[in-house]
């Protein structure tokens, strides 16, 4: 019996609409509801991490002024801030939130291929968040081992949270990986199997490509984190010696023999580097769509953009040891990884050129999503350039573990993708909620966030050049740090508190829009992609009404010469295109 594609047997598949409040909004199998659930949970836990960073900055800017911050809990704050932001906010939001919402809609399908598994993936993610938050309240508090959780310190006395915190952290990560795998199965299978008629892979919007390749990366890289988490749990609970070398603890012998801490570093960074691309690739994809929609211009070099995403994804697996240059490795080892790191900069740079060329002579509408998208390009270029510094072994030697690294990764992970998150939420807000947000408030939010984050991280690079080490509770009376460095730290703290407070504008906008916002046009940006062509706004369960859409063109028919409108939606056939002449393939 030959296989019939899902989109072709749509009329034979039984479609059940949920009826009760619980099945519609709580135990929902609808990808849109699950996406919102992921989004709310991720943002909630992200706000906790933002609060932690504010406390950290208080200590750094005004050392020893606050009695509730001591060296022990400072490290707990660093660790939880980092882990939450990277994994529980950014990964969950881009893949669980935007992936769930956009993939079925942009591919023209009714829902994910495994809706029950999709629903489970959210609740298991929530469980992992609960386990993580619980670690704040157990005896000894959460782990203070740094988000990188390096052994032997992570499970030895002297590090905060060594009794319970580290166990809960590792357990929470394991549960998160299970949730991510369940979600990942859905995203892969839906993109491969459930695209509507005419939606070839090369007609998919770049948002889907970014999320799709990021999912592939995650499915192959997260097992490395799982292996290292299980091994560390064994070392802690069962007293094995996977990572724990033969060391003595305060004169006594804890009984470990001959483990290798470097093994952990290899396993962790084998996951850790693809992880940052798991965060970056969806951002790249979404930015391409935001820029082309609001500049009324096709993305420049669509095929190169797809190949660049694929190349970045593949290369990301062979650069991991650039996080380990100072681990005492063989210099030739470092040379190899520096080379691959510089190679991966090439497709990334191609993407940057193409974004700029998309804007070039475009009909740019500086709406709020566009501002955030352009802000991404600025901050990503900035952060990416500093990455080139750090990718070279010799330059990394003095800069490693200084604030230069902190500034670099905050620019590329904390600022750029977060600007994309905001841009994406503003962009798709009319689709998700059916309402419009307040443009003025959005613009204030953008400018204050964009200029504020520059004010935080630009000076931080100088602190790194000075040699200010990261993960230090206080500088004390060290002579090589001039007093002006402390002034700079105070400035950075004030900027950070300012930016944190600014985010209130975003929430006020959202709440105002939900309560009092005007009903939005179904396609307010005149976008071409399928999610804007649904019969209902916001889309109902099943997304498309009785008939699935049929796609005739790519996602970037903006300002096509000879046509009355400056956009042609993907599901408009060449015969029906409004008042245009037939191009007949010649271009």
């Amino acid at each position: 019996m030959a296989y019939v594609a899902i989109a072709d047997r749509d009329h034979e598949i039984e479609h059940h609409d949920p009826q009760t409040f619980i099945t519609k909004y709580v135990w929902s199998q609808d990808h849109k509801v699950i996406a919102v659930q992921y989004g709310i949970t991720a943002i909630f836990v992200g706000l906790i991490a933002l609060g932690l960073s504010a406390i950290m900055r208080l200590q750094l800017g005004f050392p020893d002024q606050f009695s509730f911050i001591n060296p022990e809990n400072y490290y707990q704050f660093i660790t939880m801030h980092g882990m939450i932001m990277v994994i529980y906010l950014l990964t969950a939001l881009f893949l669980g939130g935007f992936g769930n919402y956009l993939i079925p809609l942009m591919c023209g399908s009714r829902d994910m291929v495994f809706p029950y598994l999709n629903m489970l993936s959210y609740w298991v993610y929530l469980l992992s968040v609960i386990i993580l938050i619980t670690s704040f309240f157990v005896p000894g508090g959460s782990t203070g081992a740094g988000w990188t959780l390096y052994p032997p310190q992570a499970i030895m006395a002297g590090t905060p949270g060594v009794d319970w915190g580290i166990l809960l952290m590792l357990a929470s990560l394991a549960v998160f990986i299970v949730a991510f795998t369940m979600g990942g199965l859905n995203y892969i299978t839906t993109v491969l199997q459930a695209r509507c008629r005419g939606m070839t892979l090369m007609r998919m919007p770049l948002s889907v490509w970014g999320i799709f390749i990021a999912t592939v990366l995650g499915l192959l890289a997260f097992p490395a984190l799982l292996v290292s988490a299980i091994m560390m749990l064994f070392d802690k609970i069962l007293h094995t010696s996977f990572f724990m070398p033969a060391i003595s603890l305060m004169g006594a012998d804890p009984g470990y023999t001959g483990g290798s801490p470097i093994l952990f570093q290899h396993l962790f960074w084998f996951f850790g580097h693809p992880e940052v691309y798991i965060v970056a690739l969806p951002a790249f994809g979404i930015v391409s769509d935001l820029l082309s929609t609001h500049a009324r211009k096709n993305i420049f070099g669509y095929r190169m953009m797809v190949w660049a995403i694929v190349a970045i994804g593949g290369l990301s697996f062979i650069v991991w040891a650039h996080h380990m240059y100072v681990s005492g490795m063989n210099p030739y080892f470092g040379f190899f990884f520096a080379t691959t790191t510089l190679i991966i900069a090439v497709p990334t740079a191609i993407k940057v050129y193409n974004w700029v060329l998309t804007l070039w002579e475009g009909n740019i509408h500086l709406r709020v999503p566009m501002l955030f998208a352009i802000g991404f390009v600025f901050t990503f270029i900035h952060g990416g350039l500093t990455g080139l510094f750090l990718g070279n072994v010799t330059i990394d030697m003095p800069l490693s573990d200084t604030y230069f690294v902190v500034a670099h990764f905050h620019m590329v992970m904390g600022v750029s993708p977060v600007l994309v998150v905001f841009g994406a939420i503003y962009h798709w807000w009319p689709k998700i909620s059916g309402k419009m947000y307040n443009e003025t408030l959005g613009k204030w939010h953008f400018w204050m966030t964009f200029l504020g984050t520059y004010s935080i991280y630009l000076p931080m690079h100088y602190l790194g050049f000075q040699g200010l080490p990261r993960r230090y509770f206080a500088m004390g009376n060290t002579e090589f740090m001039p007093d002006s460095a402390q002034d700079l730290n105070a400035w950075i703290t004030m900027s950070a508190l300012f930016v944190a407070a600014t985010q209130v504008l975003f929430f006020v906008n959202i709440i105002w829009s939900l309560a009092k916002g005007p009903k939005s046009d179904p396609n307010p940006w005149d976008a071409t992609t399928l999610e804007w062509q649904t019969p209902d706004n916001p889309p109902k369960h099943g997304n498309w009404g009785h008939e699935l859409p049929v796609v005739y063109r790519w996602a970037y028919d903006y300002s096509v010469p000879g046509y009355k409108d400056d956009f042609i939606p993907q599901n408009v056939s060449p015969d029906d295109a409004p008042a245009g002449r037939d191009h007949g393939g010649a271009h």
Binding site: L185, M202, F234, H266, R553, S573, P574, H587
Partner: protein, 221 residues
């Protein structure tokens, strides 16, 4: 990390090669109707199989990484190899038989010989349970001779590898149980059961392959 990188190279080459082939000679900006049917995935087959294959890629990555760690650790000078209990050979035979019976059951399901489903599934369950129980007994035998998990890295990896493999078998037993309950309750003609048995068979064969690789590596190091 060579084992993990090698595995990754194969998976990525396949997937990315297919993706790039799809995209090579296309001109996405040309608008036209593409075919009368919706696009099919890489294997032109049902979604549950694609989902299972994706899961198998994840599980393979997991085991490849543990094996990479194993190889890395083995290089350090203090490696003391573990001599595996003979019982593991018996367990291996149990797992091979389980795969064979599952394949036979799957052929029966696909060719609609429903009367064979119940005995086939139950026999598979018994053989697989025999494997798991046998693994636990092997662990006990090791502990009785003083080979604890904490003794040395070889032991630690042995317990970890065999434990991880057994956990994945138990996970598969959940799906097996659902299918078996349905068959035993007389609903053997439900089309989802045939599909379930097909997927389970692939999973069992995969775990057998993983076990053979693990066992071979443990024996030779």
């Amino acid at each position: 990390m060579t084992i993990a990188l090698g595995f990754l190279a194969i998976i990525l080459a396949t997937l990315l090669g297919w993706l790039l082939k799809q995209s090579f000679n296309t001109q996405p900006w040309v608008a036209e109707t593409v075919g009368e049917t919706a696009n099919q995935g890489p294997l032109g087959t049902n979604s549950r199989l694609i989902g299972l294959l994706t899961l198998l890629a994840v599980v393979s990555s997991f085991f490849a990484l543990i094996l990479s760690a194993y190889a890395l650790r083995m290089e350090l000078g203090d490696w003391v190899p573990l001599s595996e209990p003979q019982l593991l050979w018996t367990n291996t035979v149990m797992l091979i038989l389980a795969s064979i019976v599952f394949q036979w059951t799957r052929n029966a399901a696909v060719s609609d010989q429903l009367s064979r489903l119940a005995p086939g599934l139950i026999l598979t369950g018994l053989l697989t349970t025999a494997f798991i129980v046998g693994q636990l007994v092997a662990w006990q035998q090791l502990q009785a001779t003083g080979q604890l998990i904490t003794n040395n890295p070889a032991n630690a990896f042995f317990y970890f590898l065999t434990g991880a493999h057994a956990v994945h078998i138990v996970g598969g037993m959940y799906v097996w149980a659902r299918a078996t309950v349905k068959v035993v309750l007389g609903k053997g003609d439900d089309p989802t059961i045939a599909r379930s048995i097909e997927l389970c068979t692939i999973y069992w064969h995969f775990l057998l392959l993983v076990w053979l690789v693990l066992f071979g590596l443990l024996l030779s190091t």
